[in-house]
């Protein structure tokens, strides 16, 4: 069945298999691509927590891939983008077709089936840059060649393609937090979800015969704690929280602030139409044409705003709060050179200074009669 729903990321109505039904609140994450070093701590934290069972050997519910060439499963983005074909963004809205609107007759979603081998190369293309580095090349801005890391989990979309595609109704979106789950008791292993998810975030378990996916660490989520991949990120690139629709955006909600107020964090391939709820601060040094395809037309402004963070205490403060606690920061404010994170009820979680205090010691330690190697 086809229903008309509103997708704010493409700023227009679109068709979806089910009617619009937003959860009470929506789990969301913001990943700052500029800070990621691809240490894969997130991937391993997820792996050891959730996918160490038999039949899950090829599963990485969280992975970090190198763009432009990397991808897990192999070439997932090239495959779905080439099937969708060239599409157009208008001045105010997306004018092209979403994966729901481009579905062939008899299908619910435009889809493709990855081959099994595509799941076997989780870090293919790691650290491969966009082009050949010529002899004599030296560093200049913008970079002549580039690469960046893309951190990927399930996007817990507002309009999940997996949920739309399941012929058995075994996938559901939790009303309390918007987390998208596959009911492991009722999944019949048809793999329509795996074929339909344009981000290819659904995996097949050959031991259980069912499809499995990221569960947004919902036991942690329910107790106000960050997900494993957020908590363990040593680069502090991840911010976890709740996102509102644009008209209900709050200035003191960290995710709302980055996505709706400063518009510095953008959804990945919003043109797919699923309204994904993981947002990315785009990389500063990559090809803008490539980035516009990935993150939509707002990418140039987002990068300009990000580059100006040093003159924007609120934005700078929030970026420094990112990854500073294992608890979900639901409110924040910046005051007197300090950024403070709170729970939704106003209890303080963490505070960080916008500028670390600097203490300079004399070179000579008189008491020990030695010279210091480090004076700061």
């Amino acid at each position: 069945m086809s229903h008309e729903v509103f997708n704010w990321q493409i700023n227009r109505k679109m068709t979806y298999w089910y009617p619009e039904h937003r959860p009470g609140r929506q789990f969301a994450g913001v990943f700052d691509i500029n800070k990621c070093i691809a240490c894969q701590t997130c991937s391993l934290a997820c792996k050891t927590t959730w996918t160490s069972g038999k039949g899950q050997e090829l599963m990485f519910w969280n992975n970090v891939e190198t763009k432009p060439w990397g991808g897990y499963p192999t070439a997932w983005d090239v495959n779905i983008l080439s099937r969708l074909g060239p599409q157009k963004w208008g001045a105010d809205e997306y004018e092209g077709a979403t994966v729901f609107e481009a579905a062939p007759k008899g299908e619910r979603v435009l889809q493709y089936q990855p081959e099994d081998g595509d799941w076997c190369n989780v870090n293919l293309g790691e650290d491969e840059c966009s082009g050949i580095i010529e002899k004599g090349t030296h560093l200049k801005l913008p970079h002549a060649v580039w690469f960046f890391y893309l951190q990927r989990i399930c996007n817990h979309c507002t309009y999940p393609a997996c949920l739309a595609a399941c012929p058995r109704g075994a996938i559901y979106k939790r009303p309390e937090d918007g987390v998208v789950l596959i009911d492991q008791k009722n999944c019949h292993g048809h793999r329509e979800c795996m074929k339909a998810c344009p981000y290819k975030r659904v995996f097949f378990n050959v031991v259980t015969g069912t499809s499995e996916k990221c569960i947004a660490c919902y036991p942690s989520l329910e107790s106000g704690k960050c997900n494993r991949c957020f908590e363990t990120c040593i680069g502090k690139i991840r911010l976890q929280g709740w996102i509102s629709t644009p008209e209900k955006a709050r200035e003191d909600n960290p995710v709302d602030f980055l996505v709706h107020i400063r518009k510095v964090a953008l959804p990945l391939y919003p043109q797919f139409g699923t309204e994904p709820n993981v947002y990315y601060i785009p990389p500063k040094q990559a090809d803008p044409v490539f980035l516009r395809q990935m993150f939509g037309p707002g990418v140039d402004k987002a990068i300009a705003t990000y580059k100006n963070a040093k003159n924007d205490p609120e934005l700078l403060g929030l970026l420094l709060l990112q990854g500073s606690s294992d608890r979900v920061i639901e409110r924040f404010r910046v005051k007197d050179g300090t950024a403070i994170g709170y729970t939704a009820k106003g209890a303080e979680i963490v505070r960080v200074p916008l500028k670390e205090p600097l203490h300079v010691r004399p070179y000579k330690d008189v008491a020990l009669d030695v010279f210091r190697h480090n004076v700061t």
Partner: protein, 295 residues
Amino acid sequence: MQRKIIFPILTVFLLLWYCTPEASAQKKEVKILPEKVVSKFQAGALPLTDPTSGVWLNLPASTVKLIPQDVQEPKLAAPSIGSIKVRSINNGSWIAFHIEWEDATEDFNLRADRYSDGVSVEFPLNPKQPPDHRMGSEKEPIHLLLWKAYQQKAKEGTSFLALNYPNRWSDYSPYELPGHSVSPAHAAEIKGLLPAVALGNPIVPGTAPVVEEINAETWNKVTIQEDQDAKGKGTWKDGRWYVVIARPVITPDPQDAPLDGGSSYVAFACWDGAKANQGPRKMVTEGWLSLEIGK
């Protein structure tokens, strides 16, 4: 004059509505075909686990035409198995269907990109008012006996992990140290690593019966029965599948379609794994065939 204008407009409007997806989802199509399947009575034991037995092949066969499932998305885009040969016998206690079809490849593997061959036999729970033959209708369920090649292979001991990844290496669980038995507490923890197993999903390979008994009441209201009584076996030989699916004629289970009246309806569905047939992507009969059970 006004009525003359309103009536055609209303008719056109209703016709247009009838063609919308909303309307098609509510449509209930009940089609009874002129063909019938006769289950011959034969006293004594039936060769329920030998699909190539002469007992079957010497019986008269009905050729049943199949068409792609084209009602519910995802539909089957390209036809696969055009027809099946159906034979049936009963001994008063058990009724068995022998289904034979041409299939160049034996597809039983389970992997992200591999799909299994299969066949199902379906009956209406209420033969006096049969529902839509494909997956039943709202509050009018069908009783479905499903045989899938991968479930049979799993039951026979095939590990799809070992089959697909013979050179795999993975850490062993600290609870499964070689040479040590696993304590019940640790066995529960190991089970917890497989959520579908821990929750008792009845389709888990190796735990599911070779023929699954299912009730369907529209496409997304599918329940696997608590009591699994059906039997069967499939054999692939020289480009053909020979499958036997059998069930008791009389059962106390209210979820089983009643066959004790001597007649009912029967429908079939078939999946070709090589063509990625799975779930609703299947070949189906055009409607119900009459079923006569000889006594």
